[in-house]
Symmetry: C2
Subunit: 169 residues, 2 copies
Amino acid sequence: MKIKNDSLLRRTQEKLSKDTAKNPITVVVESTNQGGFFTKVSIRNHEILSDQPQGFNGQNQGPKPSELVLAALAACQETTYRIYAEDMGINIDSISVELTGTQDLRGFMALNEEVPAGFTNISGKVFILSEASKSDLELLQKRVDRYCPVLDDLKRPVDVSLTVEQLKT
Amino acid sequence: MKIKNDSLLRRTQEKLSKDTAKNPITVVVESTNQGGFFTKVSIRNHEILSDQPQGFNGQNQGPKPSELVLAALAACQETTYRIYAEDMGINIDSISVELTGTQDLRGFMALNEEVPAGFTNISGKVFILSEASKSDLELLQKRVDRYCPVLDDLKRPVDVSLTVEQLKT
């Protein structure tokens, strides 16, 4: 393991320290419901579809919202492993993630006030093809799980404020 | 406002109470990194792409993970509004959501241990085209923000456990 001085992490740290990187940044999405539970979400030049499965009155035209949460976590784990591995001089030949979230629907369906509406828990495995030593990978995992943004969004209470704007015909 | 006895909410509550609905349920995703930050996430018969923007060493082949988190929240708000509005007999002609999340990159980039890696805060507006009364919409919002699963995932600390499995060539 050898720290790289020109890693993306170091270069971004330097820009942030010198105040030459835009910070803080904002992340913006806009969703437009297409009828029923089907929605299209616009994100810069990208579009994400979401829907409910047919068993829950949906048309299954995309993943359901809780699946998108896990997709975000899987992608964010990969990203953070890439960034911190590069910085630590650890070569990763490939990386994949499997996640399982458990939900007790009595929360979402307002049947039991003590049951959370969201995930009871999330567990998963990160598969890393690498010749790195076990101790280097352990240190890498420790850093990733400290600095992975989406993992932090889930493990820490995030301040969310939403307002309703009524439109009339 | 009149409670519907045959709403999706009531029917699902009845199934859950009679133990004829599968519960708890699991949500499963599998991501496979395609090189760099680009990844494909498999979710049942769906696929979500994620990447970093070009300004952050990505190829912008999909939204970044934090954008997927907000997409999940927007879609989940719409879904929960639909379900609880139907149950309350409130007609919603259309619904759309705009969300903005703020991130201080010093967290993700390990420059300041007091700055969170994820969102500092998330704010947003839910636009609802409806002839409902103001008080009915206020009651609806209260129920939605209590039972929206992804909002709950963000506002409440979720138990997440991840392990690393090293593969060798």
